[in-house]
Symmetry: C2
Subunit: 684 residues, 2 copies
C-alpha cells in the first residue's frame, strides 16, 4: 500500500475497503494488505482458484472512480490453463494473477471469502462463520540436502511456517509413515490438512496429499439423544451439510428413559459397557450412512463433535453413569473434552479428533450447552428463555449480562408415556387437535395424512382403524383445547362444568374421559383422554413452569422477552397450546419460536467454527447453575402451577382454529431427541 | 522465616541453608521457605514419610549453635503410628510433624531429597538428577456438591492446582473411566500419577489410585541396536535400575547389517512392515522380562525412552527406511518425538508415553544423540572426541563452545565380518592377543576363560578345539601386536621384513598369513591373520581416523583432550591397541576411556530427567553436521591414514605386555550395539 496519490486506487466490495497500490501489485496481495477476506489455499500459485474475483468496469460515482478496460493486467497463461482445465465463470479473474494497472473496483464473491458464512434459515438465528479446526494448506517443501540433514517433517514444518505462518505444528506417527512417499510423489509440493485445537497447544498434521489436493475434508456433528441419535456430515471447506441421518438409540433395549438405563447399569455388572458398545455401534452405522450418501470415504472425515445429555455423554465415553443416578449427581467430568476418535472406537480418519461440548450440570448436559450455542442468549440484550424438554426439562434463562440454568423433573408424560392412549410418533398418531367450543366436537390430524379428520378425504386415506393413538404433541393440544372448550376446568377436572352431558364424555370409574376417536366399529381403538392423563400432564407442565419461574425469580424478572422451544418437543409443539396449558411463562406469541434440533445445530457450529468452542466453554463456566431440588421456592411454584387458568384474555388475537404451521415427520427425521414421539409404554 | 533474633535458628545440612523461624514451625515448612530440597508426596499429612529428617543434638561450634534435647516438638501420634506401621530409622523424625522449639541442626538424608542424585560409577561421568516427566502426587479432593455441579475431574484438577501448584492438567479418557470409583474408594483422597511433558503443553493424569499409593511407577530405557536390543527398567521415584536385559535384534534374519535391511525393504513389498513387527516383538519380550525380574506388572511402566540409529529408529516407528539407503539419506523426521506406547504396539501402561531422542543426521542417529547426552562434551571445556563404531562410525567432536558430528563408512571389518577367521563374540572367540616381539610367538585369551593360552590351565579349560575364531576386539589387538612385533610393516604388508622365516608365517597364494592358533590336530580350526584381513582393517581404521581428523580440521585443532570410545566397541577394545593401529587420533592414554553402553545410559538420563530432553534437543540443533561424502579433505585424510606407522616412541611408558582390564562378556550382556562381536559373515 502506498501514500502516493498517483498510484492506482483499488476498492473492494462488498467490504468497501480501499487503498492505493503500485502498478503491478497482484489483487490477492492488495486484499491481504487491506485485510480483505480473500481466500487462497495454494499461496498465490494459480492452482487452487480460491482467490477468484470479479472486476467491475465503468464509472462508479459512489466510489468516485472510473475503471478503464485496462485497469487489470491482461488475462494470462495461468488463468487460461485454469479456465480450460476446470472452468471459470465469465468475468472472473484469479486474484493471484490479475495485477493492478489503474483504478479498479473488485468484487469478492462469497465463495472466495476465507470466512464464508453458513447462512441459517431461521431469521433470528446467527449465521455460522466458517473457521474449522482442520484446514487445508498447499505448500512447496525444500528438498533434502546432505549438508543440512533435517528430516522431511522438519522441512514440511518449515514450509508451513514460512508459507502459512503456522507455528508449532507437530506431525503424528501416522503422518510420518506416509510422509516421504507423499512428498516425493508430489515432487516436493503437497496439500496438508492441519488440525489446530486449543490455543497454545501444538497444531497437528492430519494428512499429507501429494501436490494440490482436489478433494475436501469433512466433519460430523452428532446429537446423541436418549431416543434418537442424529448425525450431520459437513464439508469443512464450504460448511455445507452433505448428508444427514438419524437412528433410534439402540440403548432403548436397556431402558426407555435415562433413569432406567442408569438403573440397568446399577443392577447389571458390565451393563454400562454393553450400553457403550450399543451407542458406539449406532454412531458408526450413522457415519457409514452419511459417508455413503455423500459418496466419500469414512476416512475423509477428520473431525467430529458430539453433544448429549450427561448420561448419554458418559455412556458414549465409556464412563459408568451410576453417579448420575443419585444425589449429588456427580459428573465424571463437566468440562469439554478433546480426544481421538479411535479412543471411543469411532471409525473415521485414523487420526480424527473429537470434541465433546461441556456439560452444564449433572442434569443439564452437553446437549443443553449446544442449544445455548445455537440460540446464543449470551449474545443478546433480550431476556431469552430456552426450554428443552425430554424426561427432564433443561431450562436456560439469560442474556448477555447473566445466564442461569436448571433442570426440572417433568417426567415422561410430555413424551406420551403415562398417557392412556399415548404412543410414539408414527403414522396414525394424533398430533394436531382442535375442539369446537360450542359443540365440543373434535377434529384432528394424524401423522402421515395432511387432511383433518372431519374432511372426507381423511377416511379414504386413514380409515377408522388407521388412527392408533396420541403422540406427545397431540396430548398437549388435546388438553389445551379441552380447557378452552370448557371440557376441563381450572383445576384440571373433566366434566365438572357446562360440558357435562355431551356425547363425547364417558364415565370411567367415577371420573370422566373425553372420546377423541372411536374406531372400534372398524376394528380400530377407542382413543380417549382420561382424567389421569390430564393429571399427569398437569404435574409435568407444573414442573416445567416452576423451573422457568424459579430462574425468573433468581433473575429478578417478571416477564421474559423471548421463549425458544428447543429439540423435538419444540419442533412439534404448538406454542399457543403450550402457553394455554401454562407450560411456559406468558410471552407475546410472536416471540415464541421453535428452534428445531438446536442441539444438533450447536454441535454443527462447534464443528465449523473453532472459536465457538472457546465461546461455549466460557459461557458454560459463567452460567449460574440452580439446583431445583434444594430450592424451597421451586416447590411453592410447583403447587401453584398445577392449575390451568383460562387465559384467553391474555391473547386477544388468539384464533385457535387457524391451522398452525405443520412440521411433518419427514422434515424432522434425523433430528435429536424425538421427545414428543416416543413409543407408547407398556401398561400393566 | 523471620528477622527476629530471638526466634530459633534452623540450620539444614548438607546444604548449609539457615534461617530463623517462629516456635511451632514444622521443619518441612522451614525447609520449603529456605528452598531446601526436602521431599513430600502427601503434602505434610504424615502419610508418605518422604520428608524424613535427622535432627542433631549438642554443640556445633562450626555452626555456632547449641542444640538442646527439646529443640524439636515431642514425638507425636502421627509419627508413632507411622513407625509402628512401617518402621522409621532410629533418630529420624517426620519433617511435617516435628516443629521448631529451639535452635536446631537438621540433616536431610539423600533419600529425602526431591532431586535425588543417581550416582554413576565412572568418575568422569555426570550424575543424574532425578526429575522424571511422570511423578506421583497425593491429594485430598473436594466432594461433589449439587450447588456447584463441577465434575469429579475438575475437582481433582482443582486439588492438584491448590495443593501442588500444578496448572494446566488434563485427564485422559481412561482416567475418567475409573476416576469416580477411585475417588470414592479412597474417601476423596487419592494418589495421582501426572505426566508433564514439554513446557507449555498440558500435563496429563496417567492414573489415579484410591488413598495413598504405596507402590512405585517405572520407566524403561531402550537402546535398539542393529544387533542387540537392550532395556533397563528404572524406578521413577528412586532412579534405581530394577532390572536390565538384552536380546538379539530379530531383524537379523532380514539382513546382518543396516544396509542389508534397507535393501530387504527395497526388494520386498511389506518388508519394512515385517521388520517393524519383529523389532516391536523383541521390545515387548524385553519389557515382559524386566517386569518379571522386578516383580512388577508391565502396566506399572508408565514411560519409555528409545534410542537407535536412523534405520532402527525408522523401523521401530513403522517408517520405511528406504530413503536412508541412498543419497541424500533423508530422514522422515530428525526431531525428537513424543508418542503413545500403544501407537507402536508397545505393551506397558495403556496411557504410557514414549520419548524418542532426536537424530543428528541421516547416518548419525538418536543413539549418537544419547551418547552425547551421556558423555556431555557440550558441558565441558576439554575438547572431547566421542567415537561409536558399528558398520558406520559415528563421530562427535566438541566442547561447550562448539560441537561437530559426522559419520564415516568403516564397513563391518571391526565387527569381525570380512575377516577370514572372524566370528561373533561367543565362548571360544579370541579377544585378547599379545605377541612377543622377539620370538613372534602369540598368546591369547578366549571368551569364557580367564587364562592365557600359554598357561597350563588353558588347555584343560578350553582345549585345542575350543578356540573357534577371532572376534572384533581380538583382530584389532592381533594386528596391532603384529605391527609392534615387526610382523606387519608400515604399509600393512605381512612378512616383508625381519619377521620372514618364523614358523608362524605361512604362505598363501603369494601373500603371508600369521598363524594365531592351529587346533587342527585336536579337531579344531586353523586360525590365521591373512594379508586380506590386514587390508580390510586398514581400510576400516582409515575411514574412522579420517572422519575424526576431518572434524579436527573443521574445529581447527591438532590434538584432542579426551577420547571416549562408546558402545560395545568401546567396551571391548583396548585403547592402546586402537591407538597403535591408528584408529583414533593421538591422545594421552589416560585420557582415553571406554564409556560402555553410553547410548543406553543416555536413554536412561532422558527417562529420569525431563530437562535433559530439552538439553539434548538444543545440543543436537546446535551441532554442525559434516557430510564426509562431500568433503574433499576426507578423501585426502583417508589415503594418508591407511599406513600403520610404528609409534612406540609416542608412548614412552607403553608396556603392551601388561594385562589390560578385561571386560567379560557376561558384564556387557545386554548392552547396545554389539559392535566387536558380530556373527561371522558367510563368505562365498
Amino acid at each position: 500500500m502506498t501514500d502516493n496519490p498517483t498510484d492506482p486506487l483499488v476498492i473492494f466490495t462488498p467490504s468497501g475497503k480501499r487503498g492505493r497500490f503500485p502498478v503491478g501489485t497482484p489483487i490477492l496481495t492488495a486484499a491481504r494488505q487491506l485485510g480483505v477476506d480473500l481466500d487462497s489455499v495454494c499461496g498465490a500459485r494459480g492452482i487452487c482458484s480460491k482467490c477468484q474475483i470479479t472486476p467491475s468496469y465503468g464509472e462508479f460515482s459512489k466510489h468516485g472512480v472510473t475503471v478503464r478496460e485496462n485497469a487489470l493486467s491482461e488475462w494470462n497463461k495461468v488463468e487460461e490453463r485454469y479456465k480450460s482445465k476446470r472452468g471459470l465463470i465469465e468475468g472472473r479473474r484469479l486474484g493471484c494473477q490479475a495485477q493492478v494497472q489503474g483504478d479498479v473496483v473488485i468484487d469478492v464473491p462469497p465463495e472466495s471469502q476465507v470466512h464464508k458464512q453458513v447462512v441459517r434459515k431461521r431469521v433470528e438465528a446467527r449465521d455460522i462463520h466458517m473457521d474449522p479446526a482442520t484446514k487445508l494448506y498447499y505448500v512447496e517443501v525444500a528438498e533434502p540436502d546432505m549438508e543440512n540433514p533435517q528430516g522431511d517433517l522438519e522441512r514440511l514444518r518449515e514450509a508451513l511456517r514460512e508459507q502459512w505462518s503456522l507455528d508449532n505444528v507437530i506431525g503424528g506417527l501416522r503422518t510420518m509413515q506416509g510422509l516421504q512417499k507423499a512428498l516425493r510423489d508430489g515432487k516436493w509440493a503437497a496439500t496438508v490438512a492441519v488440525y489446530s485445537g486449543r490455543e497454545g497447544t501444538p497444531s497437528r498434521i492430519m494428512q499429507v496429499w501429494p501436490g494440490y489436493y482436489e478433494g475436501s475434508i469433512y466433519g460430523v456433528a452428532f446429537d446423541v439423544g436418549s431416543t434418537t441419535i442424529a448425525c450431520h456430515l459437513c464439508d469443512l471447506i464450504t460448511g455445507d451439510v452433505k448428508a444427514s441421518s438419524g437412528l433410534m438409540n439402540p440403548q432403548i433395549r436397556f431402558g426407555e428413559d435415562l433413569m432406567s438405563r442408569v438403573s440397568y447399569s446399577m443392577m447389571n455388572p458390565g451393563g454400562a459397557a454393553e450400553m457403550t458398545v450399543a451407542v458406539r455401534g449406532a454412531v458408526n452405522s450413522l457415519i457409514g450412512q452419511v459417508a455413503a450418501e455423500a459418496m466419500i470415504a469414512t476416512t475423509d472425515i477428520v473431525e467430529g463433535v458430539f453433544v448429549g445429555n450427561p448420561v448419554m455423554h458418559h455412556l458414549l465415553l465409556g464412563i459408568d453413569p451410576i453417579e448420575l443416578g443419585w444425589a449429588p449427581f456427580a459428573l465424571a467430568t463437566s468440562d469439554s473434552m478433546s480426544l481421538w476418535a479411535k479412543e471411543i472406537d469411532v471409525s473415521m480418519h485414523p487420526d480424527a479428533r473429537l470434541y465433546i461440548l461441556p456439560c452444564i450440570a449433572g442434569h443439564v448436559g452437553a446437549d443443553a450447552a449446544a442449544v445455548v450455542l445455537s440460540e446464543s442468549p449470551h449474545l443478546q440484550d433480550e431476556m431469552m428463555l430456552v426450554v428443552d424438554v425430554g424426561t427432564n426439562a433443561e431450562i436456560v434463562l439469560g442474556n448477555r449480562n447473566k445466564m442461569l440454568a436448571c433442570s426440572s423433573p417433568t417426567g415422561p408424560a410430555f413424551e406420551g408415556a403415562q398417557i392412556s392412549s399415548g404412543q410414539r410418533a408414527a403414522p396414525g398418531a394424533v398430533e394436531r387437535v382442535r375442539i369446537d367450543p360450542a359443540t365440543k366436537e373434535p377434529r384432528f390430524q394424524v401423522i402421515g395424512c395432511d387432511h383433518w379428520s372431519n374432511e372426507p378425504a381423511f377416511d379414504q386415506v386413514v380409515g377408522p382403524a388407521g388412527v392408533t393413538g396420541i403422540c406427545g404433541s397431540g396430548i398437549i393440544e388435546a388438553i389445551a383445547e379441552m380447557r378452552m372448550a370448557g371440557i376441563v376446568d381450572e383445576d384440571g377436572a373433566i366434566g365438572s362444568s357446562e360440558a357435562v352431558g355431551t356425547a363425547r364424555l364417558i364415565e370411567d370409574e367415577r371420573t370422566w374421559s373425553y372420546v377423541m376417536h372411536d374406531g372400534r366399529a372398524g376394528g380400530g381403538p377407542l382413543i380417549t383422554i382420561t382424567q389421569l392423563d390430564v393429571r399427569n400432564i398437569q404435574l409435568a407442565k407444573a414442573a416445567l413452569y416452576s423451573g422457568a419461574r424459579l430462574l425468573m425469580d433468581k433473575m429478578e424478572i417478571e416477564q421474559v422477552d423471548r421463549v425458544v422451544l428447543a429439540g423435538a418437543f419444540g419442533a412439534h409443539i404448538s406454542p399457543l397450546h403450550a402457553m394455554v396449558l401454562g407450560m411456559i411463562p406468558d410471552c407475546p406469541l410472536d416471540k415464541v419460536s421453535s428452534a428445531g434440533n438446536s442441539a444438533g445445530t450447536g454441535a454443527r457450529i462447534a464443528l465449523l467454527n473453532l472459536a465457538s468452542r472457546r465461546e461455549i466453554e466460557a459461557v458454560v463456566r459463567a452460567i449460574d447453575k440452580i439446583e431445583t431440588a434444594v430450592e424451597p421456592r421451586f416447590q411453592e411454584h410447583f403447587v401453584s402451577a398445577i392449575a390451568i387458568p383460562h387465559k384467553t384474555a391474555t391473547y386477544p388475537n388468539m384464533d385457535t382454529h387457524v391451522t398452525l404451521p405443520k412440521v411433518s415427520f419427514a422434515q424432522s427425521g434425523g433430528t435429536g431427541e424425538d421427545g414428543g414421539r416416543r413409543r407408547r409404554r407398556a401398561r400393566g
